[in-house]
Every structure is written in structure tokens, then in C-alpha cells.
């Protein structure tokens, strides 16, 4: 048990930056370039940790707290989500809700830190982020509900335990919907195309990047590292839905999560290379569509349960 938890923490801390590297490499391959090395984010984080942070005189403690709280909440969410085996180090009765709202806490502090700078660019980014995450949250909760309602539980451990390996063989349509909706939410929450272009340099078109313009040094390292952890969390959630691993999976569980994470990172890279960013007025449509699709999934669950 203790060994599993140690492995869980190690994987959570060390694996995520690789995913951003994989996304970058996939996009470079599509563009016919060689692209940055796979381990680039590790080097970036290491470099930034050794730099000095510069703080503006107009900022308060919120600006310093923002990156810290967001990283802390993401790592806590990582401790709540099962990775290697059926249960996570901090799993308890309502951890699905805790997971969603830990992500929300991190997001709130990022937005607050952005507003704290007093700059109009960051304020614009914060307002866009607030609007879009308000629409993405019901989609995420509905997708999690699809997984949890058949098992009548609000805990990840029990919910995943109720998804046996045979469920894909029977091709349950509701898991399909849940996977699609969570993937769409992943794209939205992690500021990927089609919601936000992470590679743009035009501040007026940014949503997430513009919120973190003024952070530097270790703060920026936390933010970059946090975004990688966030992608890893969503990928792990998806992998658990796509390939349900039995609770005593042990080493197989870790391998599946890591390999699945890489696969999903490749998928994100493909989506980013294949599409253009949506016009901002269309992004709410994208998110409302994801929510409605999730709602349809709930209807399907209720219908099949009542049969």
C-alpha cells in the first residue's frame, strides 16, 4: 500500500512535463519541423527555478500566492485521483466533487492573481477564462456524473471499480459520451486549440497565456509545471475510462496510465495541428455543446438503468 502511494506520488511529480513535450513533438512533426526536445519542459522548469522573480509594486500577496495555490491544488487533485491502482492516497467518500473543485480553486487563484496586476491584458484574460470555465464546469460535472450515477457513488475508487474490463466489450454508449465530453473539457481547461492557441504571441487573442504574462522565475516555473500536471490529470481520468484497470493492477496500472497519457498527448497534438482556433463567439457554443452531449449521456444512463 505504502509502496503504491510512493509510486503514485513519484509518477505525479515526475511524469507530467513529458506530456507537453510529446504534444510539442507531435505538432512539430505535423508541421514538418524537428521541434524542441521531448524533455524541454524539465530543462525550462529547472532554469526558471534558479532565476529571480520580479514583482511589480502594484501587486499584493495575491499575486505571489496565485501560482503557489494553483500548483498546490493541482497536486492535491492528483493525490485524490487514482493513478496506479484502484485507490489514491487521499481518496474519500466525495472525492469526485473535491477533484472538480480543487481544479476550480486553482483556476480562481490564477484569475485573482491576474486581476491583481492591474493590467488590462490580464484582466481581459481573466474575464475570458471566467466565462469559459463557467461553461466548461457543468460539462465536466455532467461527464463525471455519467460515470458515477450507475455506480451510485461519488468516489473515484468505487466509480472506477464499477467499470469492469468487459464494459468496452459491451460497447457502452454512455462511456463513449463521457470520454468525448471529458476530452472536449480537457481541450478547454488546458487552453488548447480549438479554445485557445498556446503558441500565439498576440495578447488580444489569448485566454490563458495572457493571465500569466507578469509571472517570472519560480512562479512561472510553478505555472508551467502546473499546466503539465493539469493535462496529466485529465489524461489519467480519460485513461481510466477508456481502459479500466482492475484495482490490484500494480505495475500494469502505472504503465497503462503513462502510455495512455502519451497517447492522449499525441491525440491533443493531432487535434491542435488539424484545426484552427474557434472564433471567440463560437467557444461558448463548443462548451454548451459539450454540456448538452453530457446531458444526453445522462439520459442514456437513466434509460438503460430503467430498462
Amino acid at each position: 500500500m505504502i509502496a503504491q502511494w510512493v509510486v503514485h506520488v513519484l509518477v505525479l511529480l515526475l511524469f507530467p512535463p513529458l506530456l507537453l513535450g510529446v504534444i510539442g513533438t507531435t505538432k512539430a512533426w505535423f508541421a514538418g519541423r524537428k521541434g524542441p526536445p521531448l524533455l524541454q519542459l524539465y530543462f525550462d522548469v529547472w532554469k526558471l527555478l534558479h532565476k529571480e522573480a520580479v514583482y511589480s509594486r502594484t501587486t499584493t500577496w495575491i499575486f505571489r500566492a496565485g501560482p503557489i495555490v494553483s500548483l498546490a491544488s493541482l497536486l492535491s487533485a492528483g493525490l485524490v485521483l487514482p493513478l496506479t491502482s484502484g485507490s489514491a492516497p487521499l481518496s474519500f467518500g466525495g472525492d469526485v466533487i473535491a477533484f472538480a473543485y480543487l481544479l476550480g480553486l486553482g483556476r480562481y487563484f490564477t484569475m485573482a492573481a491576474a486581476l491583481d496586476t492591474g493590467s488590462s491584458f490580464e484582466g481581459m484574460g481573466a474575464s475570458r477564462e471566467a466565462a469559459f470555465s463557467a461553461l466548461a464546469e457543468p460539462a465536466l460535472l455532467v461527464a463525471l456524473a455519467i460515470v458515477c450515477v450507475p455506480a451510485s457513488t461519488v468516489s473515484f475508487a468505487d466509480a472506477f471499480a464499477a467499470l469492469p474490463w468487459s464494459s468496452w466489450g459491451a460497447a457502452h454508449p454512455e462511456i463513449l459520451i463521457a470520454v468525448v465530453v471529458i476530452f472536449l473539457v480537457l481541450l478547454a481547461e488546458n487552453s488548447r486549440i480549438p479554445v485557445d492557441d498556446p503558441a500565439t504571441h498576440l495578447e488580444l487573442t489569448m485566454i490563458h497565456e495572457v493571465m500569466v504574462l507578469d509571472h517570472s522565475g519560480p512562479d512561472f516555473a510553478f505555472i508551467l509545471y502546473g499546466s503539465a500536471v493539469k493535462i496529466f490529470l485529465f489524461s489519467a481520468l480519460l485513461v481510466h475510462l477508456i481502459i479500466p484497470v482492475s484495482p490490484d493492477g500494480g505495475w500494469l496500472g502505472i504503465l497503462v496510465v503513462c502510455a495512455g497519457g502519451v497517447a492522449i498527448a499525441v491525440a491533443i497534438g493531432v487535434v491542435e495541428s488539424g484545426m484552427a482556433r474557434l472564433r471567440l463567439v463560437r467557444v461558448p457554443q463548443f462548451l454548451i455543446g459539450a454540456s448538452v452531449l453530457g446531458a444526453i449521456g445522462i439520459f442514456v444512463v437513466l434509460l438503460r438503468a430503467g430498462r
Binding site: 454508449p173 457554443q285 454548451i288 455543446g289 448538452v292
Partner: protein
């Protein structure tokens, strides 16, 4: 088999949602074509006609599958693309109810259809309560599209969605399919869409009601 059919039905619903939420005519037509392709696969999964059935049953099934694929997947989109190009429009302007609210209404209609389908005690043959629910939902969504859209081609696509819904209900309810109904419905849809496409090229973009007002001297 049942759950593969259920996944296919869910894919149909997702395509409906997509069609309601886009105002690009080309994407809408392609989504409708994809719906047609999925619909042609439905009889195979639902009708219970397998390797053990008689030759004529298998032939009927093959004819229906291939017919649906050709008509709904190829011919009708081709007619609609031609009409779209001859009118020279690729996007329609925002419908009466905005696209965002249309998506929510879509969800509500789905919920309503699922509720009605479970409330009715219909003879869901082939064990398909979900087929009836999805068929009703598709029907309501198609009717909503016809009411909501200005553009003629979108209205034709709404009509196609209604027909798809009717076909899904037919496959869900009937124990043994009627060859006459299936083939007849296909041909009717094809001819109706062809006529509508031809008429659409002659329609004004913003059609005004024809009619005689007092003092009009036309015949």
C-alpha cells in the same frame, strides 16, 4: 449487438446536436450524409437477420442497406451541394433562436423524447427502448430545425432528420421489417429532396409570401 446499436444511436443523436449548432451549410450537409451512413448500418445491427435467415430476408436486408447508403449517403448530399452552389450561399445567417439556445433546446427535446419513450408502453420489439427514444428525439429535433431556420436548404436538412427519426422508430418497433415501407420511404425521400433542391434554386433568398393583396392585378 444491442449495445453496438445503442452506440450507433448515440452517434446519431450527437450528429443531430452538431447539425443544430452549426450554421455552415456545407458542414450540415456532411453531417446529414454521415447520419445516412450510420442509418444504413442500423438494420444490420437491429433486425436480427443474420447468417441463419432465409436467402430472401438477407437479400432484402442487403438491398435496404445498400439503398440507404447510396441514397442518403451519396445522392442526397450531392443534390443539396448542387443546390447550395447554385444559390451561392455557404452560411446562413443566425436562425430565429440563437445557436447557443438551440443547443440547449436540443438537450431539452432529447430529454423530453427519452421521458416520453419510457412513459409509453409501446411494443419495443428487438428489445430496443433506446431506439424508440432516439427516434423520437431525432424527430423532434428535425421538426425544431424546420421551424427555426430561415434558409431553404437547412429546412430540407431538417426534413431529412425527421425522416431519419421515422426510420429509426420503424426499426425499433417493427419485429419484421416491411420491404415496401423501407424502399418506398427511401425513394420518396430521394425524389422529394430532388424536387426541393430544384425548387430551392428558384426560390428567393428571403422568400416573401406570394399572394393577392387588394388591388393586385396579377393572375
Amino acid at each position: 449487438m444491442t449495445t453496438y446499436a445503442d452506440s450507433l444511436l448515440v452517434a446519431l443523436l450527437a450528429l443531430d446536436l452538431y447539425m443544430v449548432s452549426t450554421n455552415r451549410l456545407g458542414s450540415c450537409i456532411r453531417a446529414s450524409a454521415l447520419q445516412g451512413v450510420l442509418l444504413s448500418a442500423l438494420p444490420v445491427l437491429v433486425s436480427g437477420i443474420g447468417p441463419s435467415s432465409s436467402f430472401w430476408d438477407a437479400m432484402h436486408l442487403a438491398a435496404i442497406v445498400i439503398g440507404t447508403l447510396c441514397v442518403k449517403g451519396l445522392l442526397i448530399p450531392w443534390v443539396l451541394f448542387r443546390a447550395m452552389r447554385s444559390r451561392g450561399e455557404t452560411r446562413e445567417f443566425e436562425p430565429f433562436v440563437s445557436l447557443h439556445l438551440s443547443q440547449v433546446i436540443n438537450g431539452v427535446l432529447c430529454g423530453g423524447a427519452f421521458w416520453i419513450a419510457t412513459g409509453l408502453s409501446l411494443p419495443a420489439a428487438n428489445g430496443h427502448a433506446m431506439g424508440l427514444a432516439v427516434g423520437l428525439a431525432t424527430l423532434f429535433i428535425g421538426l425544431y430545425m424546420i421551424i427555426n431556420r430561415h434558409n431553404s436548404i437547412s429546412q430540407v436538412l431538417g426534413f431529412l432528420v425527421v425522416e431519419s427519426g421515422v426510420m429509426v422508430i420503424a426499426w425499433a418497433l417493427l419485429r419484421k421489417p416491411s420491404f415496401v415501407i423501407e424502399v418506398g420511404a427511401l425513394l420518396d425521400v430521394l425524389v422529394a429532396v430532388m424536387v426541393l433542391g430544384v425548387l430551392a434554386t428558384s426560390l428567393e433568398a428571403t422568400g416573401s409570401e406570394g399572394g393577392v393583396r387588394k388591388g393586385d392585378t396579377s393572375q
